[in-house]
Amino acid sequence: MTLSVDIRHRFGDFAVEARFESAGRLTALFGPSGSGKSTLINLIAGLLRPDKGRIAVDGRVLVDTEARIFVRMHKRRIGMVFQDARLFPHISVAGNLRYGRWFTPSSERYAKMDAVVDLLGISHLLDRRPAKLSGGEKQRVAIGRALLASPKLLLMDEPLASLDEARKAEILPYIERLRDETKIPVVYVSHSVAEVARLASDVVVLAQGKVAAAGPTEAIMQRLDLLPAEERGEGGAVLDTKVLRHDEAFGMTVLGSPAGEIRVPKLAMAAGAPVRIRIRARDVMIATERPAGLSALNILAGTITAVRPGIGPTVEIAIDCNGAIVLARITEQSKHTLRLALGQQVFAVIKTVSFDNATTGAGLPAEADG
């Protein structure tokens, strides 16, 4: 799938002027509130008509103001999951799920009811009314409803933003599963570094209605300067790793990465499972010699490849650990004292306890299908 967007849209004194292409499995539209991400996703869904521009999915033109093309939203076959689930209050959960099927030509119905219900763990909710569901359950049903319309593209507009942390942790694994087990490309709007780092294959960063950067998640996440101020503490390197083995005695999981073994608190995943982790830059210490007599368990050797000024009295240092880039945020003073310079051999030190659910992903809860 390729999504190509090139639009200009004004509303009042706010203008969105965005141009990007993405072919990712899950493309995140990332930026602070007011950056134009929701406007952009509404334009792709057809809920808004742009002043000017063109939007195409896989070569199918949905909007082209110059050629006077505007495909109406019910003909786009683009699924949408809203921040507020927007379930139909007068129909049961099963009825909500089936709704989109009626309007899908039978030759294009690829989504199967049983498979989607299993994927999202909502089989026990089918007979209920939407008003009787919790926030997290509502959102899972809303995702199922969009999937069962067999869309060509699925849009998710901050689907977790109105949920508390526990509910977010409940839904994230299902979205990961959706990304990995279905073939539907997803465009995911979010202002959260944790969600984007964990879910996205590609990121389009928006700021004040314009595209500030676009590219693969690992590359974009290196650019701490792109993050909104309130999310900067969450910024850091994103590494794709694999579960090597579990250390039952100490309740840890050992992950394999190009940089070497990384020990994190125990994950509920089988050996061999892929895990994407985020190492917050503020959690990384730098040592010029291999430290001894230290409680931190993860010590990765590498070379300094970049030194960038950070916010306030900090610097951001990129360390290439055998191909995997780890970011560290340290004070100007430490850099001066250690005389850190480009090309220097250093050790990145990361405490195991600095990893949590938000940075390693908790996996599916065991009772998910109950």
Binding site: R72, F82, P89, H90, R129
Partner: protein, 234 residues
């Protein structure tokens, strides 16, 4: 009880006719009522205030004036009356259909008001969600909007029915007071009060009309509550 139900044939006819007229008036008003309520709730067009005023006119005009206007336009020589009689064979003047028209017109503002309020209360974002699932605007209306405004529809329909049961001025002006054809309950009661010894009949019909109105009101309450419970909107 026997005294109450021991009606003369003419009185029975008045009761039956009233129920028939009110039912037809209510059912025939529903489609245009929904359409106008939709237009007034959602439409953005020039002359909306004027249209709103026109719809409400029967509520503020003296009923006799409304009846006379109906006579002028839908009467035997009125332009609309001539047109409908020639092309569709529908005649209103001095027929029960005319009584239904007069009752429908008088109850129309009440019906449109109730439906309009319920349409304005519908969350349009839910309709947009249905649109993204592939439903075109007509299907969105039928499967989402209509069920969501059902309580308002019921309320509007019952108001229109109740108004039709009690309508007197416009009906008697437009189609007169002919037993078996246009003599509805209020007209019959009025007739009884005009003849000596008619008090007993007037009282009987008054009690019957109270019972019918109460039954309609209670039925609408029960129905609306049941629909509301089924939907259970947070």
């Amino acid at each position: 009880m026997n005294w109450l139900l021991d009606l003369t044939p003419d009185e029975w006819n008045a009761v039956r006719l009233s129920i028939k007229v009110a039912t037809v008036a209510m059912i025939a008003s529903l489609p245009p009522g929904i359409l106008l309520a939709l237009l007034l709730a959602r439409g953005r067009f020039w002359g909306k205030t004027l249209l709103n005023g026109l719809v409400h006119l029967p509520l503020i005009l003296p009923p006799v004036v409304t009846g006379y206007l109906l006579l002028l336009s839908f009467g035997r020589r009125g332009p609309a009356g001539v047109f409908l009689a020639e092309h569709f064979g529908i005649v209103f003047s001095f027929r029960w259909t005319g009584a239904a028209l007069a009752c429908g017109v008088m109850g129309f503002p009440l019906m449109v008001r109730a439906i309009r309020l319920s349409i304005e209360a519908v969350d349009r974002r839910i309709e947009a969600a249905a649109g993204t699932l592939g439903a075109n605007p007509l299907w969105v209306f039928v499967t989402i909007t209509l069920p969501l405004i059902l309580p308002g529809l019921i309320a509007g329909a019952i108001l229109s029915f109740a108004k039709a049961m009690g309508e007197f001025g416009a009906t008697i002006t437009f189609v007169s007071n002919i037993p078996n054809e246009t003599q509805t309950l209020p007209s019959a009661i009025y007739t009884f009060t005009q003849v000596p010894g008619g008090d007993e009949g007037a009282l009987r019909l008054t009690l019957i009309s109270i019972v019918i109105s109460m039954v309609a009101l209670v039925a609408s309450e029960v129905l609306a509550r049941r629909v509301g419970r089924r939907m259970d909107i947070e």
